[in-house]
Amino acid sequence: MIQVEKQTKIKVDKISLSFGGAMVLTDIELDIKDNEICAIIGPNGSGKTCLLNCISGFYKPQQGQIIYKGKNLIGLPPHKITTMGIGRTFQNLELFTGLSTLDNLRAARHLFIKSGLLASSIYFGPAHHEEIKHMRVVEEIIDFLEIEPIRNRIVGDLPYGLRKRVELGRALALEPEVLLVDEPMAGMNLEEKEDLTRFLLDIHMGTEFGYESEFLNRGVKCIVLVEHDMGVVMDIAERITVFDFGRKIAEGTPNEIRGDERVINAYLGEEI
C-alpha cells in the first residue's frame, strides 16, 4: 500500500450546539483528513449525526467554526456546502420517494447540468444533449451499485436495503470530495452489510471498472462514516473518533480504540 500524505480536509474547531438549552455538542474538535475513511462512533444520542448536520449546514452551531477550503461553513446554506463538494447520506432516508431510482440519481446531477430556463423550456438542443450525457453517468452509478433491476421502480416502493443503496448512489452522483455517510448499516442484514462495505471500499479506493466518468474511477478519497456497527467500523475505518454525550471522548486507530477505557465504559462493556 503506497503512503499518501494526509492533510486536513475539514477542520472542526471547538463547535458547540444546543437546542433551547439542551447541549447537543460541546467543544467538538476534529480533523477530518484526506485519503482516509474516518469513522465517528458512539452510543445513540451522542451527537454523531448532529455533527454531520453541522458540517452539511442543516444545524447552526452557536460557537466555533468548521473550516473547509479556507472557508467557515457555519452559516452557509446546505446547498452551498454541497456545491463546495461535500456530499452526504441521511440516517433516516431522505429520498424523493415519488421519483424512480433513475430520477432520484438524475436529480442529484442537478449541480452539473448547466442548461437554464430557456434551454429547458425548448428542451431539444442543448438541454437534450446534457440529459443524454448525464444519463450515462447515472447509469454507471447504477451499474456500480448493482441496482439495474430497480432502475425504473418508484423509490417509495423499494425495500429498506435497496433504498439505502439508492441514497448512497445519489450522494455519489454529486461527485463529492468529501462523503458523509450516516449509519449506512442500520437495519441491514448480513448480506446487505457486506455489499455496502464492499461499495464503500470501492468508492474509497476508486473503481477500476472502466467507467467513462472520471470521478467514479478516482473515487471519493475522504469519507466520514458515522456508524453503530462496530465490526464494520473496525474493518474499514483508518481512524476512529468516539463521541459520548456530545463530547469527544477518544480518537485513534481501531486498535487504540479497542483498548481505550472510556470507550468501553461508554459502551457499557458492549462487544467491541
Binding site: 447509469e139 448493482e146 439495474e148 433491476p149 477500476e208
Partner: protein, 649 residues
C-alpha cells in the same frame, strides 16, 4: 448411403467455425453480430469489431503460452466477452470446455482435471475465488482469466500472477498482432474440420460425467441440418442463455451466429433477463420442457390474476386456438371462417399475450431434453407458437424433429431428419448414425467403444418406438424405465413432465418401482400458490405451512386427475404427498439441467419414499434446507399423505 446426396445438398464451402468468422468479417463487416445491454441501453458490436476483439484475445492467449489443440475451460454466463473468447479460441485451434456457472468446486476440479485444461476463462470475482479455493487441486491450470472487473481491483487479485484480466490478454494480443501481422488468419487456416471444437460434459444422471468431444465439422453439420428445418436469417435476433457447458449453446447461439449471421443478444444481468427478453424478442427458442412449462404456467397465472374481462376474452379465444391448432397439427387446410376466427383470436388474445412474455417475434420453438407434455404442447400451438419436438442428445444433437408442412403427431419426437440413419436394437434401444456424430468421450476409450460400435452406430440408450409413418416415440432411457411389481412398465419422467404442466406445480417425483402402484411426491410453485392463497384468503405462514394446506392439496389434485385421465389405469397415481420444500440443484436433488436424481433422492428421502406406501397418513420428513445467504440447517416437517379419490389401490 443415400445420405451422401444430402451432405452435398447441405454443402460445405467453409470447413471450420473460425473460417466462418473470417467470412463474416469480409461479407458482413458492418452488420451487427452481437448486442449487449449495458448501462441501460443496447450496445451493438459489428462483425468487424467482434473479429478484431476475437483476434486480439486469441493471439493474447497464444502469447501467454496456449498451443493449438489445448483445452480451455469457460465458466460464465453468456456475454460478449464469452463469445469473443470462444471465437478467439476457435481461431487459434483451442478446444472449449464449458462448465456450468453454478458448478460446485469439486465438480469443477473434476472437469478441469478430466479435460486437462491449461487455462480457465471465468467471468467474475465469484468464479475467481472458486478457482483460488481449488488452485492446489488443479496444478495444470496456468492462468485464470477474468473479464468482469467488479471487485477485482483488490490487491490480493492484482498481485497474483496466476490471475489475469481479459483486457490485459487482449492487449498482449494487440502487441503480438503488430509484431507478427497475419498470424491469426494463419492460425484459422491451420484449423482442420476434423479438429475438436468443443467438449461438453454430459450431466451425470448415470455415473461420472463424460467429456463429449465434438469436431468443427460435427458442429457445422449440426447447424446445417438445423437450417433445413429451422432456418434463421441474417440479423434475426436470438437470445442465448444456455451456457457453453451445454450443446444447447451452439444450437441457439454460436453456430447460428457464425453460419447464419443471427444476432445474439445478451441481457444486462441475470436479474433483468425477464425484462430484457421482451426487448430482445427472439426469433428462435430451443429449450427444455421445464422452461416451457415455467413460461406456460407464468402466462396462466398472470391471466388468472387479471380482471374478469381479460380472463373472459382469453378463455373465450383459447378454444378457437386449440381448434385451429388441431387443423395445423393434422395438416388440413383451414376453412375460411376458422381463418377469420383465428385472426380475431390472434389480435384480441394471443398476440397481446405473446407480446407480454416476449415471444411475439418467435418463428419457431423447439423442445428437447425430453418430450413436452401433450397439454403444454397443444397449449403453445394454440396460442400461436410453432412449437415442435426436437430429438437431440449431446452426442448427436439432431436426430428427429417435427417438420413444417407434415402432419404433427403430438407426443412423438417427429420424423428422422435427413442424413441420419437409425436402427432399433432388440431391447428397443435406438442406434443412430450421422455426419454430426461426436468423436469420442475424452480419455474414456472404453466408454467410447461401448457407445459407438465398430460400424459407426451410436447406441443412444433411449428406448423408443417408431411407427409406420416413421415417427419416433420416446419411451424413456432404457435404464430409467421403471416397472411395477406386476411387471407393468411405465415412465416416471413422462408422468412427471405431465404433472409439471400444472400452473401450481413446480416439481414432481414419481415413485412405484417394484411397488404395487404409482405414487407422486409433489413440490408446489411457491410464487403462484402463495398468490393464489392470498387471492382466496387462505392464511399461511411459511412454505412448509402452505404446502400442507388442504386447499392447496385440492388445487394439486385437479392436475393429478387431469394427468391420470391420460394414463392406463394400471399406472395411474393412487397416492400423493405435497413436499414441504422445493427440490434444489444446490442440494444435488436435481442435476444442473434440472432433472431429478432419483437414486440420490431415494437415499435422501427414504422415509417418505417408503412411508407413502405405508398406511399412516402423516410422515415426518427432515431435510437439510439452505437459505438465500447460504446458511444451512435441518428442517423437519410433517408431510401429509393423501389418497387420490376414485383410484382404488
Amino acid at each position: 448411403m443415400n445420405n451422401k446426396s444430402n451432405f452435398t445438398a447441405v454443402g460445405e464451402e467453409y470447413p471450420t467455425l473460425p473460417s466462418y468468422l473470417a467470412r463474416n468479417y469480409l461479407i458482413w463487416g458492418d452488420k451487427v453480430a452481437l448486442r449487449q445491454k449495458d448501462f441501460g441501453i443496447w450496445h451493438e458490436y459489428t462483425w468487424k469489431q467482434v473479429y478484431e476483439m476475437s483476434k486480439n484475445f486469441g493471439l493474447g492467449m497464444l502469447s501467454i503460452g496456449l498451443k493449438k489443440g489445448d483445452k480451455v475451460c469457460i465458466i460464465g454466463d453468456n456475454e460478449v466477452e464469452t463469445y469473443v473468447a470462444a471465437y478467439g479460441l476457435y481461431g487459434v485451434g483451442a478446444v472449449i470446455v464449458g462448465i456450468w456457472v453454478d458448478a460446485l468446486p469439486d465438480e469443477v476440479v473434476y472437469y478441469l482435471t478430466d479435460s486437462e485444461s491449461r487455462f480457465a476463462i471465468v467471468r467474475d470475482q465469484e468464479q475467481v475465488d472458486k478457482m483460488l479455493t481449488i488452485k492446489n487441486k488443479v496444478p495444470q491450470i496456468e492462468k485464470v482469466i477474468w473479464w468482469e472487473p467488479k471487485g477485482m481491483a483488490a490487491p490480493e487479485y492484482k498481485n497474483n500472477p496466476w490471475i489475469m484480466g481479459f483486457n490485459d490478454v487482449s492487449e498482449l494480443g494487440r502487441k503480438y498482432d503488430q509484431e507478427h501481422p497475419g498470424t491469426f488468419e494463419e492460425c484459422i487456416k491451420q484449423v482442420l474440420p476434423s479438429d475438436s471444437a468443443n467438449m461438453y460434459y454430459t450431466s451425470g444422471t448415470t455415473g461420472a460425467a463424460k467429456g463429449v468431444v465434438r469436431s468443427h465439422s460435427a458442429q457445422i453439420y449440426m447447424r446445417k441440418l438445423l437450417n433445413l428445418y429451422y432456418p434463421l436469417n441474417l440479423g434475426d435476433d436470438c437470445h442465448s442463455m444456455i451456457q457453453f457447458a451445454s450443446i444447447g449453446e451452439p444450437i441457439t447461439g454460436s453456430t447460428a451466429n457464425l453460419l447464419n449471421g443471427a444476432v445474439i443478444n445478451f441481457p444486462e444481468s441475470p436479474d433483468t433477463t425477464e425484462v430484457d427478453l421482451r426487448e430482445i424478442a427472439p426469433r428462435f427458442h430451443s429449450l427444455t420442457p421445464r422452461f416451457y412449462e415455467e413460461i406456460a404456467s407464468k402466462m396462466r397465472v398472470r391471466i388468472e390474476s387479471a380482471g374478469a374481462l381479460k380472463r373472459w376474452v382469453f378463455n373465450l379465444m383459447l378454444p378457437i386456438g386449440y381448434k385451429v391448432a388441431q387443423y395445423e397439427i393434422e395438416n388440413r387446410p383451414l376453412p375460411v371462417w376458422w381463418r377469420i376466427l383465428k385472426w380475431i383470436a390472434w389480435w384480441t388474445a394471443f398476440r397481446p399475450n405473446l407480446d407480454k412474455c416476449g415471444l411475439l417475434k418467435i418463428k419457431y420453438c423447439t423442445n428437447s431434453g425430453f418430450v413436452l407434455g401433450a397439454h403444454t404442447f397443444r397449449f403453445y400451438r394454440a396460442i400461436g407458437i410453432d412449437m415442435r419436438e426436437f430429438y437431440a442428445s449431446t452426442e448427436i444433437p439432431i436426430i428427429a424433429t417435427h417438420v413444417k408442412g407434415h402432419n404433427i403427431k403430438v407426443g412423438s419426437l417427429g420424423e428422422i431428419v435427413v442424413s441420419v440413419e437409425v436402427r432399433l436394437a432388440d431391447n428397443g434401444e435406438l442406434y443412430i448414425r450421422g455426419p454430426h456424430l461426436f468423436d469420442e468421450y475424452y480419455r474414456k476409450p472404453d466408454k467410447t467403444a461401448s457407445a459407438i460400435d465398430s460400424n459407426g452406430w451410436y447406441h443412444s440408450g433411449d428406448a423408443v418406438y417408431i411407427d409406420d409413418d416413421g415417427y419416433i416415440f420416446y419411451i424413456d432411457r432404457v435404464t430409467e424405465l421403471a416397472s411395477l411389481s406386476s411387471g407393468q412398465k411405465y415412465s416416471p419422467q413422462g408422468i412427471e413432465a405431465q404433472m409439471r404442466f400444472g400452473a401450481y406445480i413446480k416439481d414432481c417425483w414419481i415413485l412405484g418401482e417394484g411397488k404395487d402402484y404409482v405414487t407422486a411426491i409433489i413440490t408446489i410453485d411457491f410464487d403462484s400458490v402463495s398468490k393464489w392463497a392470498e387471492r382466496h384468503h387462505v392464511p399461511f405462514t411459511t412454505m412448509i405451512d402452505l404446502s400442507q394446506k388442504d386447499e392447496v392439496a385440492n388445487l394439486v389434485l385437479k392436475d393429478i386427475i387431469r394427468v391420470n385421465s391420460g394414463l392406463p389405469p394400471a399406472t395411474r397415481i393412487k397416492k400423493f404427498a405435497i413436499f414441504h420444500k422445493e427440490f434444489d440443484p444446490d442440494e444435488a436433488e436435481l442435476t444442473r439441467s434440472r432433472k431429478l436424481r432419483r437414486e440420490y433422492m431415494y437415499k435422501k428421502y427414504k422415509d417418505i419414499a417408503d412411508g407413502i406406501y405405508s398406511d399412516n397418513d402423516v410422515i415426518q420428513v427432515s431435510a437439510e434446507f439452505s437459505y438465500a445467504d447460504g446458511t444451512k440447517d435441518i428442517v423437519t416437517a410433517n408431510v401429509k399423505i393423501r389418497k387420490v379419490p376414485g383410484e382404488q389401490e
